[in-house]
């Protein structure tokens, strides 16, 4: 009898937690447009740089943003060689015009290499998630800005988790890579549902994903 009481207590608590979690998820997903972190004067950004082409694109986007987007925390996959140099070049330019400009570089394991099989992709994605959560919890950015490398899924999930737990609302801004004309990337397909602002760069995608924002080519 005592066992039954304890057991039903445990089950009830678990159910309440899950329900609470799901309710919070809905609240967080719906209140994005009302959340205005910029009203305090500056916006900290977690920039998911990913690899090669993705980095070039995201730097073009960053180049258009004002000095109020400060500091910028860049996350690079640890196997990436070219991105760090591109970022340092960009930031060196930025510092010339704004002495208060700040940035950091963060490295996490890559989710999926080009040509990696799907089964080992799952394992390395989990590995990436384990390093993403502490990173995002420590940096607590106002905005996560990303454009499709595999690493952005666990980072956005970690940002969402901060909001669900009520620790910090993190806006997720996703800009699908310009190389996606007809179909979203795997990251895009997942993040379409949890992004606060989801941009596509070709009209064909706006037709298929009506909640996306289309303003022509951005990069």
């Amino acid at each position: 009898m005592a066992l039954f009481v304890v057991l039903s207590g445990v089950i009830l608590t678990a159910l309440l937690l899950v329900t609470g979690f799901i309710l919070r998820l809905f609240v967080v997903l719906r209140n994005g447009p009302e959340y205005k972190p910029g009203q305090k004067g500056s916006v900290s950004v977690l920039v998911v740089a990913g690899s090669g082409g993705h980095t070039t694109e995201i730097i073009r986007l960053l180049g258009s943003l004002s000095h109020s987007y400060n500091p910028r925390h860049y996350v690079i996959a640890d196997t990436d060689k070219m991105s760090e140099e591109k970022i340092r070049t960009f930031e060196a330019e930025r510092e010339k015009s704004d002495s208060t400009s700040q940035f950091t570089l963060q490295r996490i394991p890559r989710s999926r290499e080009v040509r990696q099989s799907w089964s080992s992709s799952v394992l390395s994605s989990l590995n990436a998630l384990f390093s993403s959560v502490p990173l995002v919890f420590r940096l607590r950015p106002d905005v996560v800005l990303c454009n499709g490398p595999g690493t952005c899924v666990p980072l956005c999930a970690a940002g969402l988790l901060l909001g669900i737990l009520g620790l910090k609302r993190v806006l997720i801004v996703y800009v699908e890579s310009i190389c996606r004309v007809e179909t979203l990337s795997l990251s895009g397909k997942m993040l379409y549902y949890i992004s606060d602002y989801f941009f596509v760069q070709w009209a064909q995608l706006k037709d298929k994903y009506p909640n996306a924002i289309y303003m022509g080519r951005l990069v």
Binding site: G53, M82, C179, L218
Partner: protein, 164 residues
């Protein structure tokens, strides 16, 4: 000196390096008046010998901090289909021939190449059709590529996060 710059970005694309240095491609390039080839081979395992393309001055490197100079000094860019390399070449206003890697797991790269070819900004082919394309392509049909407008993104985001 008329130079073609070949770039594979951060990846490896041995098939492209093999094909572009093949006798057939070298012949087509010389016929078009090219005198030099500059190869960026990335992580690839094929690193051609500088003497391997008689008639063309061959330079080979793996990575550089910036390939902007190599782009600028070239008269034709042959690139893998990565968005970064394509945009950089189009931004530099160079005639662009994109070679799609049909061995990649998720060959979405074809989407962009196809669309940009439909809009007359580049010509694309695969490794198997590269020599033929080098012989027959008409670069005069290509139109300049207007840069994207990131300022629209910035304007939207300023409002969305409450900066303005």
């Amino acid at each position: 000196m008329k130079t073609v710059f070949v770039t594979v970005g951060t990846t490896s694309f041995d098939d492209l390096i093999d094909t572009v240095t093949s006798d057939e491609s070298v012949k087509a390039l010389i016929q078009r008046g090219f005198t030099g080839v500059n190869l960026q081979v990335g992580r690839g395992s094929v690193v051609p010998d500088p003497e391997s393309c008689p008639g063309l001055k061959l330079q080979v490197f793996r990575f550089k901090d910036s390939i902007a100079e190599d782009m600028r000094h070239s008269d034709l860019v042959i690139s893998h289909a990565g968005a970064g390399s394509c945009l950089e070449a189009l931004g530099a206003n160079k005639p662009l021939l994109v070679v799609v890697n049909d061995k990649l797991m998720d060959n979405h790269q074809l989407e962009l190449a196809r669309q940009l070819q439909a809009d007359s900004h580049l010509i694309y082919c695969t490794c198997s059709t590269l020599p033929q394309t080098l012989r027959e392509m008409d670069l005069t049909t290509l139109r300049p590529f207007a840069p994207g407008e990131p300022q629209n993104f910035a304007k939207f985001l300023d409002k969305a996060v409450g900066l303005v």
